[in-house]
C-alpha cells in the first residue's frame, strides 16, 4: 500500500475538519498538468481510508478527475486554524446509498444556507482513496475548543438511566430529559416510522413552544425522514431553511380531499432558524423504527462524537422499546368491569372519523389518524355502547377492525402517542394507564360520534 499518513494523523482524527464551516478546496490537473483549483460544497468521512466528495456540476475539476484519477484536497480546522492536505485517488461515483444520502441531505442544508437550493443538486458522491495525509506546516494553531460536555461519561449515565426504565413512557421521558440535562441538547423530537403508511409520526418533543405529538412527515422529508429511509445518521452544521427542508410536512389534506375547514395538520415544533441539526435512526432487530432529531441555534453544535453517542443511545432506546411490548399474558380474573354512563351535561363533543385513513377530528379539529385514530374510535364506540371505560391491550391487539401491523412494537407506542396527543389538546376525552397492559378512558363531556365514509 502506498498510503502515507504523517504527523500521527489519521483520517478519523481529522474528520471534524470536514464539517463545512470552511469549505474544502480541491486541486486537480489536466492530463497536460495544468492545475485547476475550486471549492467544494462537502467532504464526507467514509472510513479510515476513504472520503466522499460532492459531485454537483460537470466542470473542469470533474473533467480532470475522470482523466487523471488524482486530486489534492485541503481541509481547515474551523476552531484551531490547523490545516491538512490530502492526496486522493478517485475510485467511483455513487448515486444512491447511505453515503450519497448523507451528502445529499447535508447539501440541502448548505444550499439553502447560501440561497441556492434551487440550483444545487447532488449528482453523485465521488469516492476517493486517501493516498497521503499530512499537516500543513507553518500555521500558528489555536487551542481546540472545550468540549460541550463529557460525552462518553454523560452518555453512559444516560444509558444507565434508560436501562432502569420498565415502561415505555419512562423510557421516552428519560431519553428526552437526559439529552438536555446530560448532553446539553435542548431541542429534540422523537419520530416513529409507520412503514404501512410510509410516514413518520412525532411521538414527543422537548424545547419547543408546541409539543406536536401526532404531527406527520413523509419518509424522506427532512433529515429525519432521510435518516429513516436510509437508516443512517445525518448531520448538518449550517443554518438551513427549516421551512423548506427539515419542516417539510406533508400537506395531505388537499390530496385526501378534505373540506378546507378540516385540515389534518398538526403544527410541527422546530426552531425557526436552526443552525445545526442531527437526525439519528432508531434501529432494532434489523429494522428502522423511527428517528431522533436534535437541533441547535448554534453552528456546528453537533460533531461526529455527538453522532456516535446518539447512535448508541438511540440503538438502546429502539431495542428497549421493542422489548417492552411483548404479547400481554392473559389478564387475571378481574371484578366485573366498572360501567359508567357517559356524561349527560355539558356541551357535546363531536368525534368524527374518516374511514379511508382513520383520521379522527374532535369538534372539527384534526386529532390523529391511522392506528391511533382507529383505537380512539373503537374505545369511544365501546364506551357509548356499554359504558365500559377500561380496556386491555390484549383485546385491542386482537381487534380485527384495528388492523394492527404485524409487529410487536406498534400498539404500546400508538397508545402512548394517542395519550400524548389528547393531553396536548386538553381534549375532553383522555387516556390513562390502568395497570399493566390496561388503559382507561376518561370522558368529561357527552360524545356524539359521526362516521364518514369518504
Amino acid at each position: 500500500m502506498n498510503r502515507r499518513m504523517s504527523d500521527d494523523l489519521t483520517l478519523f482524527g481529522v474528520r471534524r475538519m470536514m464539517e463545512g464551516v470552511v469549505p474544502p478546496a480541491l486541486c486537480t490537473a489536466s492530463a497536460d498538468r495544468m492545475p485547476n483549483v475550486s471549492y467544494l460544497s462537502l467532504a464526507e468521512y467514509v472510513d479510515p481510508l476513504h472520503i466522499a466528495l460532492s459531485f454537483q456540476f460537470f466542470n473542469r475539476s470533474r473533467e480532470n478527475v475522470l482523466a487523471t484519477k488524482r486530486a489534492a484536497l485541503t481541509l481547515d480546522d474551523p476552531y484551531t486554524g490547523a490545516g491538512v492536505i490530502l492526496q486522493l485517488e478517485y475510485l467511483r461515483t455513487e448515486t444512491c446509498g447511505p453515503v450519497f444520502e448523507r451528502l445529499r441531505a447535508k447539501l440541502m442544508g448548505v444550499a439553502s444556507h447560501v440561497g441556492m437550493d434551487q440550483v444545487f443538486h447532488l449528482r453523485g458522491a465521488d469516492i476517493y482513496r486517501v493516498l497521503e495525509l499530512r499537516r500543513v506546516p507553518g500555521r500558528r494553531e489555536l487551542p481546540a475548543a472545550e468540549p460541550r460536555v463529557d460525552l462518553a461519561t454523560n452518555s453512559r449515565l444516560l444509558s444507565e438511566r434508560m436501562a432502569n426504565c420498565g415502561e415505555l413512557v419512562d423510557l421516552l421521558d428519560t431519553l428526552l430529559d437526559g439529552l438536555g440535562e446530560l448532553l446539553r441538547i435542548d431541542n429534540a423530537m422523537l419520530w416513529l416510522f409507520d412503514s404501512a403508511q410510509e410516514v413518520l409520526t412525532l411521538l414527543a418533543s422537548r424545547g419547543y413552544e408546541v409539543g406536536g405529538a401526532g404531527a406527520e412527515i413523509s419518509t424522506g422529508d427532512g433529515i429525519a425522514g432521510t435518516a429513516v429511509r436510509e437508516g443512517v445518521a445525518i448531520r448538518v452544521g449550517h443554518m438551513m431553511n427549516m421551512a423548506r427542508y427539515a419542516r417539510a410536512a406533508r400537506d395531505r389534506a388537499d390530496a385526501l380531499g378534505f373540506e378546507p375547514v378540516l385540515k389534518s395538520e398538526i403544527p410541527l415544533p422546530g426552531l425557526k432558524e436552526p443552525r445545526s441539526q442531527l437526525a439519528v435512526p432508531l434501529r432494532a432487530r434489523g429494522r428502522v423504527l423511527g428517528a431522533l432529531l436534535v437541533e441547535s441555534k448554534h453552528d456546528q453544535h453537533f460533531g461526529y462524537d455527538d453522532e456516535d453517542a446518539l447512535m448508541l443511545l438511540c440503538g438502546q432506546f429502539a431495542v428497549a422499546m421493542s422489548l417492552m411490548q411483548p404479547p400481554e399474558p392473559e389478564p387475571p380474573a378481574r371484578e366485573a368491569p366498572k360501567i359508567v354512563a357517559q356524561p349527560q351535561t355539558g356541551l357535546a363533543v363531536h368525534l368524527r372519523r374518516y374511514a379511508r385513513d382513520n383520521s379522527v377530528f374532535l369538534d372539527d379539529v384534526y386529532l390523529i389518524r391511522g392506528v391511533a385514530g382507529a383505537i380512539l374510535w373503537k374505545l369511544a364506540a365501546e364506551f357509548l355502547r356499554s359504558g365500559r371505560r377500561e380496556f386491555s391491550n390484549r383485546e385491542l391487539r386482537l381487534a380485527p377492525e384495528l388492523r394492527l401491523p404485524d409487529v410487536q412494537d406498534n400498539l404500546e407506542v400508538r397508545l402512548l402517542l394517542l395519550q400524548r396527543r389528547l393531553a396536548e389538546q386538553n381534549a375532553p376525552i383522555q387516556l390513562e394507564k390502568a395497570g399493566r397492559g390496561r388503559i382507561r378512558l376518561n370522558v368529561k363531556r357527552p360524545i356524539v360520534m359521526q362516521a364518514e365514509n369518504s
Partner: protein
Amino acid sequence: MALTQDIIDLLGAGVAHQVGGCTKEGRPSLCRGLAATVEPDGRLVVILSAESGFEVIAAVHDTGRIALNLTLPENYKSISLLGRDAVVSHGGAAFRELVLDRYEKFRAQLDVHGIPPAYTEAWYLRPDADLVAIRFTPFSVRNQTPGPDAGSALALANR
C-alpha cells in the same frame, strides 16, 4: 490580454486565495495564498508562505503552470486564473504592506461569518523571510462561483 477592472477590483475586496500546481509526474497540490495584485507590466503576482506552500512552489517552479482561485466570502463569488509562464522569486518585505492590506480585508470578510481574527492570524501572519512571490500572465479566467456555469470562461480585456 489583461485583467478586466472587475477582476482587479476583486483582488482587493478581501478574497480568500488558493494556489494550485501540479508536478511533471501529475501530482496536484495546493495551498493558501496571502495576497495578489497586478503589476505594472500586467502580470499577476501572488504571495504565499514558503513553509506552508513548499509543495506548490516546487511544482510551479518546475512546470511554470499555476492556478489561482479567488473567492469572496460574502457572496461566494469565485474566479480562477490560470498561467503557464509562472516565475517563482523571493518576496520578502517588499510585499509586507500588500499582505497586511489583504489580511485586513479578508479578516473583515470572515468577521461577518463569525470567524474570529485569531483564526485568520493562525496562517496569515508570516515573517517577511517566508514570503514568496509568483508572477504569471493569466491566459484564462474561469468563473468558479458555485452553480451550473462553474468552470465557464470569463473574458479578458485587450491591452
